[in-house]
């Protein structure tokens, strides 16, 4: 027999967990599905400095552990399963899992988040984990006393560059424009840091190396000039940390609900999508500010709206 819930939430990051907490607290039966790891992108962050109240034990993992505990306490169920297909058209929505289980739900909240964008250059795939990284807290340790290049100019790129100075001998931020996009307070910290240097107006063209990063080719967007960066001979390698924005996890949804041109979910301020009973929350939604605080707010709103929808609909 198919499993049935009032609300199925796809994604167990801050948005999904907040939705789960609110929905379970209002006595709805709740299932949260997560394909990879609880917590989403924030668990790779070592210090969450700007989530209100997170001044103690503010690592991403500890914050998420407390959210999961709260969800458990209110009775939301969390399963580590991948969603492979959806039927959102009918009144009882169907969520199909990778073990062929079909879960039925009166309402679905999509909180699948986003993931780091790749550079899309030659050598990137082969050298990921061999000098190219997208996760400073995972891999920073390997680059102790080595040189590191941080690609990108947003909040994440500059914050992670600052974090990497604790390990690397030198950190160079490579940005495609002539000024950073990161918040001013973060920029100031970076400009004050002796270990951080900058290469402006430049993008990565290719990365080379035999089993390990040995060379990176940059191109100056204004002059067209190429700059070849070779690993110092004595150590033989250097690090490339990529923080060039995000892509939303919406491949499953194309054709089911309305997406923006950049493939984020278009939902109103009540988190409603264009399909009745289907809500969106967190980074996957088309919006300006993608932070833990906006993700949790989205989750809370989506859950209360799901409750409204269920109590005003005949099933």
């Amino acid at each position: 027999m198919n499993q049935q819930y009032d609300v199925v939430i796809i994604g167990a990051g801050p948005a999904g967990l907040s939705a789960g907490l609110y929905a379970a607290r209002s006595r709805m039966s709740v299932l949260i599905l997560e394909k990879e790891k609880k917590g989403g992108q924030i668990v790779t962050t070592d210090e969450v400095a700007n989530y209100p109240g997170s001044i103690r034990e503010a690592t991403g993992p500890s914050l998420i552990a407390r959210m999961v505990e709260q969800c458990d306490e209110f009775g939301a169920e969390i399963k580590m399963k991948t969603v492979v297909d959806l039927d959102l058209k009918s009144k009882m929505k169907k969520v199909i899992l990778d073990d062929d289980t079909v879960v039925e739900a009166k309402s679905v909240i999509i909180a699948t988040g986003a993931e780091p964008r790749k550079l899309g250059v030659d050598g990137e795939k082969e050298l990921t984990g061999k000098g190219i990284s997208y996760c400073a807290t995972c891999d920073a340790d390997f680059f102790t006393d080595l040189e590191v290049y941080c690609i990108g100019g947003g909040d994440t790129a500059v914050e992670e560059a600052i974090y990497l100075t604790k390990f690397a001998s030198k950190v160079t931020i490579v940005h495609r424009r002539d000024e950073l996009r990161a918040a001013k307070s973060i920029q100031e910290k970076a400009f004050k840091n002796d270990k951080i240097e900058f290469i402006w107006d430049s993008v990565v063209e290719e990365v080379n190396g035999d089993g390990i990063v040995e060379q990176m080719v940059l191109r100056n967007k204004k002059t067209g000039e190429k700059q070849v960066i070779d690993a110092p001979e004595d150590v033989g390698t250097f690090g490339i940390f990529v923080f060039v924005g995000y892509i939303p996890n919406t491949e499953l949804l194309d054709g089911h609900i309305k997406l923006s041109p950049r493939k984020y979910i278009e939902a109103c301020t009540k988190m409603k999508t264009d399909v009745p009973g289907v809500f969106a929350a967190g980074d996957v939604r088309d919006k300006d500010l993608r932070q833990v605080v906006t993700a949790t707010a989205d989750g809370a709103i989506a859950a209360t709206q799901a409750e409204h929808y269920i109590s005003n609909t005949e099933f």
Binding site: G129, C138, D141
Partner: protein
């Protein structure tokens, strides 16, 4: 799973006959912690054909780099002490690791 360190790595992996799988992880790597139960499941299923080990790279950085591991999670499969295959980062999933094992044993 056998817990390796700097001192035992050579004997248990590089000087070991047959198949040895090493799960490289670290204290700060959350994706590694999420993956570990899956690798433990595989150790249950394939433990009689492959020796399952794990190495905390925190404090064993040079050893990891000597094995060309500079990103986590990384699951490396060795045969008679030589690396034959690996699943790193996005490819380090239960399904991919199981496929890797089945490809070689």
């Amino acid at each position: 799973m056998l817990v390796l360190d700097k001192k035992t790595f050579e004997e248990e992996v590089l000087n070991s006959d047959g198949f040895t799988l090493v799960d490289y992880y670290s204290d700060g790597c959350e994706p590694c912690k999420a993956l570990m139960p899956d690798v433990e499941d595989l150790a249950e299923a394939y433990g009689d054909q492959v020796k399952f080990c794990k190495l905390n790279t925190t404090g064993a950085r040079r050893l990891a780099i000597s094995q060309r591991v500079m990103g986590l999670p990384a699951i490396l499969l060795y045969k008679d002490g030589e690396k034959v295959d690996e699943c790193t980062k996005d490819d380090a999933t239960k399904a991919e690791i199981e496929a890797m094992i089945n490809k070689h044993i």
